[in-house]
């Protein structure tokens, strides 16, 4: 296989609210509105943005947990959207998801052994002895002990539950894991443990991550490429160092300046006015223009295309110039 492990082109998902009894027809929520993404084998693409930007929807579209309206999704060279149900089931062994909330994503009635054996049962892999061996192997891989297998999820702390969620995702040796805010529900000291674990597993198994998070510092730590989403579109995409040291889109610049860094000198912030517009009624032209400190008339008239302003650094802004230096 050549090319990226996962390649997404022109991905669109509009959610149509049910028609109201009276009054005007409800407008569709344009959750994801034409985005392109590539995830390289064994690499990490960070997908970052604020609530409602469409990053979680993108993660679910990629795995076909929800169906896209338009666009192509190629995984290991195969068109996911055209796959038959049987073929999709086979593909899902290779692409898995880890959710934010380890409390609600594990069945409380099952033991850890049952949770971890389930993927093998579903796919008809191995007998009882083989599955028990796999469960021990998975527990070991995520730093849990063999005696944890007999326990139920409620007996574990948040960090341990997230380890179980990761073990379940690893069960069938995937090449891609979509990690949707995997550490957002965890305390700082536990968050570091889980991030280290994910990096170790990636190095040992050649995993690729689509790492979705609102936390810029966490994304910086995990990703080698970063895409910034705003209201359903990607506004900037770049290698990690370029994005964090020389962001070119005014939204990325404001987002980076909004996050206080502990211990760093207090600095002047770019404080945006207003809030994120409603996704069922995005502004014309550039979607960020209503909050943009440098918007001009052209921004309302014309949708800015992603332009490559530096090597592998694409920006959707009429006014952005090449990176200095």
């Amino acid at each position: 296989m050549t090319g990226p492990l996962l390649s997404v082109r022109g991905l669109v998902k509009h959610f149509r609210p049910r028609a109201r009894l009276l009054g005007a027809e409800a407008r569709p929520v344009r959750a994801v509105d034409g985005i392109d993404l590539d995830v390289e084998a064994a690499g990490t693409l960070g997908l970052v943005g604020e609530s409602g930007c469409g990053k979680s929807t993108t993660g679910r579209l990629v795995l076909r947990l929800i169906e896209a309206d338009a666009g192509t999704i190629r995984f290991e060279g195969e068109d996911i959207r055209a796959a038959t149900p049987a073929r999709l089931r086979a593909l899902r062994r290779r692409m898995q998801i880890v959710f934010q909330d380890p409390f609600s994503s594990l069945d409380p009635r099952m033991t850890v052994a049952e949770i971890l054996a389930e993927p093998f049962v579903v796919h008809g892999i191995g007998g009882a002895a083989e599955r028990a061996r796999q469960v021990r192997r998975l527990l070991d891989a995520v730093g849990l002990a063999a005696h944890h297998a007999a326990r139920h999820p409620h007996e574990f702390s948040g960090g341990q539950r997230q380890r179980i969620g990761i073990a379940r995702a690893l069960a069938l040796e995937p090449s891609l894991i979509v990690a949707d805010e995997p550490v957002s529900a965890l305390d700082v000291s536990i968050q570091a443990q889980i991030l280290n674990l994910m990096k170790d597993l990636q190095a040992a198994r050649g995993l690729a991550f689509l790492f979705i998070s609102h936390n810029l510092a966490v994304v910086r730590h995990m990703a080698d490429r970063v895409a910034v989403m705003y209201l359903g579109v990607v506004v900037e995409e770049a290698p990690r160092e370029a994005l964090f040291s020389a962001p070119l889109h005014p939204y990325t610049q404001a987002l980076l300046s909004a996050v206080p860094d502990p211990g760093a000198a207090r600095r002047e912030r770019i404080v945006l006015t207003g809030e994120i517009p409603r996704p069922d009624d995005p502004p014309s032209g550039c979607r960020f223009r209503t909050r943009c400190p440098i918007a001009v008339a052209r921004c309302a008239a014309e949708v800015p295309a992603l332009r490559e302003l530096a090597p592998a650094h694409r920006v959707a802004c009429h006014l952005a110039g090449p990176a200095p230096g």
């Binding site: 604020e50 609530s51 702390s157 960090g159 305390d187 700082v188 000291s189 536990i190 968050q191 570091a192 443990q193 991030l195 280290n196 990096k199 609102h214 936390n215 810029l216 510092a217 966490v218 910086r220 730590h221 990690r240 160092e241 964090f244 404001a254 987002l255 980076l256 300046s257 909004a258 996050v259 206080p260 860094d261 502990p262 211990g263 760093a264 207090r266 912030r269 404080v271 945006l272 809030e275 994120i276 909050r291």
Partner: protein, 321 residues
């Protein structure tokens, strides 16, 4: 300068367990004190104890002296006058603290009627003024809206407006920006900073977010397993943490400005109140722990630069290597 709030030996007990234990700190007029800790550290229960809102069967002991009066010995009626008056509170999730069936104006008006005796058009005019103060655009129209018509950031502004209704000298803010997006959080922090300067009110900020602390607080108290383990001026504390837990927390954070290969995670997890280790509660997770650490609880001992840390390395003990 006399302290606005002076807390001594504050303890909150549920059954046989202390969820807040022997807390002592003070807040000067106009000062921002951050109480920082992870889940289960007791920071939110501390805020509730200060407001005398600890739910039963919790038992609060110690002294909470606010403007000369010990709040723990006031009658419930006297306490109602303090709460929402000279001392107000903002919670993390504005949607659950606002009443969904009343307009924003009516909810602000309730506080104005209770504490300032305003009603009718005077209360409405004051509500509009307060919404303007917290930078809600088009306040005259927004005052007639219901909470569900507002965004998360706007609801938090309404909560702050309600808290400010009676010109408090102390605002207790429990994770006020945790539910908000980064760009909206920046707006709310800017607003709080401006209001504090203009109104001269002191703020106790309860948070798990060290970035927010570093950005907004003058002084910090770090809590771990129900106790304060370190306290001091924010800048000094971040520059050179004196307690291994503070040090560990800072080291475990991924940073915006630099790339590290691995994070220095703190091993293990916070012990629950019913399974506390003997002696220093952080000892089982501490890289510096030695045998004496498990012998007795280390007291908060002074460290250079107006700081204090509850670690025997600072309490005059010599720990054999």
């Amino acid at each position: 300068m006399t302290a606005l709030l002076s807390v001594e030996g504050l303890t909150v007990r549920f059954g046989r367990f202390n969820v807040v234990e022997d807390l002592s700190f003070s807040v000067s007029p106009g000062e921002v004190l951050a109480i920082v800790g992870e889940s289960g550290s007791g920071k939110s229960m501390t805020a509730l104890a200060l407001m005398r809102l600890v739910p039963p069967p919790g038992v609060v002991s110690g002294r909470v002296v606010f403007e000369g009066a010990d709040l723990l010995s006031l009658s419930e009626r006297q306490m109602r006058d303090v709460r929402g008056g000279a001392m107000a509170m903002v919670f993390q999730e504005p949607m659950t603290s606002l009443n969904p069936v009343f307009t924003v104006g009516r909810q602000i008006g309730e506080a104005l009627a209770w504490h300032r005796g305003l009603s009718g058009s005077a209360a409405r005019a004051e509500a509009v003024r307060l919404l303007g103060l917290v930078e809600i655009p088009n306040a005259a129209a927004r005052v007639s809206e219901y909470p569900h018509q507002l965004s998360g950031g706007m609801r938090q502004r309404v909560m702050i407006a309600m808290a400010l209704a009676c010109r408090p000298r102390l605002l207790i803010a429990d994770e006020p920006t945790t539910a908000l997006d980064a760009t909206v959080q920046a707006q709310i922090l800017d607003l709080l900073r401006r209001l504090r300067a203009e109104l001269g009110m002191a703020v106790i900020l309860i948070t798990h977010d060290l970035g927010v602390v570093s950005d907004f607080a003058d002084r910090v108290a770090v809590m771990y397993a129900a106790r304060i383990v370190e306290t001091g001026p924010a800048e000094a504390l971040f520059k050179a943490p004196a307690h291994p837990y503070t040090e560990g927390l800072l080291a475990s954070l991924p940073r915006l400005a630099e790339t590290a290969d691995r994070l220095a995670a703190i091993p293990g997890q916070v012990p629950p109140p019913f399974a506390l280790p003997p002696g220093c509660r952080f000892a089982p997770r501490c890289a510096h722990a030695k045998a004496p650490c498990s012998a007795a609880l280390p007291p908060l001992a002074p460290v250079a630069g107006g700081r204090a840390a509850a670690c025997i390395r600072h309490a005059g003990y010599v720990v054999a290597a």
